[in-house]
């Protein structure tokens, strides 16, 4: 009996340590404030292809934010796609599916028909090939 209890305690501790570790890992890299603002204002949105897009009128500052992030994303996709033995487009499309899933209510994303949608609390409209 006591060994079982000890095991449970150890498991609980391990779980706590893991969850704390997970939280710190998520918090270590943050979005640039200008990007965060444009994102929550719905000026930029997640496209199906895994890149950012400008939703409304293009301004030089928005263009700069979007281009800067898309260049960085492309570099990451290329590296990871090669490691996973996939094409850049395949990897980017997969990341796009996930990035659209991760949008929070109020943010913009591109629906399969190409239109810009505002994310609500309901699941986003995604490509039928996207993983659950």
């Amino acid at each position: 009996m006591t060994t079982i209890r000890k095991n449970r305690l150890a498991l609980g501790l391990a779980a706590t340590v893991l969850s704390i570790g997970g939280l710190s890992a998520v918090a270590y890299a943050q979005r640039d404030p200008a990007y965060e603002t444009a994102r929550s204002a719905g000026q930029v949105g997640e496209k199906m292809d895994g890149y950012l897009g400008i939703v409304g009128a293009e301004t030089p500052s928005l263009k700069q934010i979007v281009n800067d992030i898309n260049i960085k994303r492309r570099a990451v996709y290329a590296e990871k796609a090669q490691a996973a033995n996939a094409t850049l487009e395949e990897y980017a499309l997969t990341a796009g599916c996930l990035a659209i899933s991760r949008t929070v209510p109020g943010e913009k994303y591109q629906a399969p028909d190409g239109s810009w949608q505002t994310r609500t609390s309901a699941p986003p409209l995604r490509d039928s090939r996207c993983p659950a």
């Binding site: 890992a25 998520v26 270590y28 890299a29 943050q30 979005r31 640039d32 992030i69 960085k72 994303r73 990451v76 996709y77 990871k80 996973a84 996939a86 395949e90 990897y91 499309l93 997969t94 990341a95 599916c97 996930l98 990035a99 991760r102 039928s128 090939r129 996207c130 993983p131």
Partner: protein, 86 residues
């Protein structure tokens, strides 16, 4: 005799031989055979035309979806590791 002639094509003659002993059964069987023959004849009227265009099966879609499912976990980690650009 007519029954046998009608069923020459199918495996039914075997059944007929087995049922020869019972006239009542034979009569019922004959009825069944006639209706079956009618069914066969009727169904024979249904024609299936091959489409004039070639049948194209888009395997591309399945392959892509499979790839996406395979990459999903990896991509999820990538997004978390690069939270500043996602």
């Amino acid at each position: 005799m007519t029954d046998a002639e009608m069923t020459l094509k199918g495996p039914v003659p075997k059944i007929l031989r087995m049922q020869k002993g019972s006239p009542a059964l034979k009569g019922r069987c004959g009825m069944a055979l006639v209706s079956m023959a009618t069914l066969v004849m009727l169904s024979g009227c249904i024609t299936v035309n091959a489409p004039d265009k070639p049948i194209v099966i888009e395997l591309n879609i399945n392959i892509r979806q499979e790839v996406i499912y395979r990459l999903a976990e990896d991509a999820s980690n990538t997004i978390e590791e690069n939270a500043d650009i996602f």
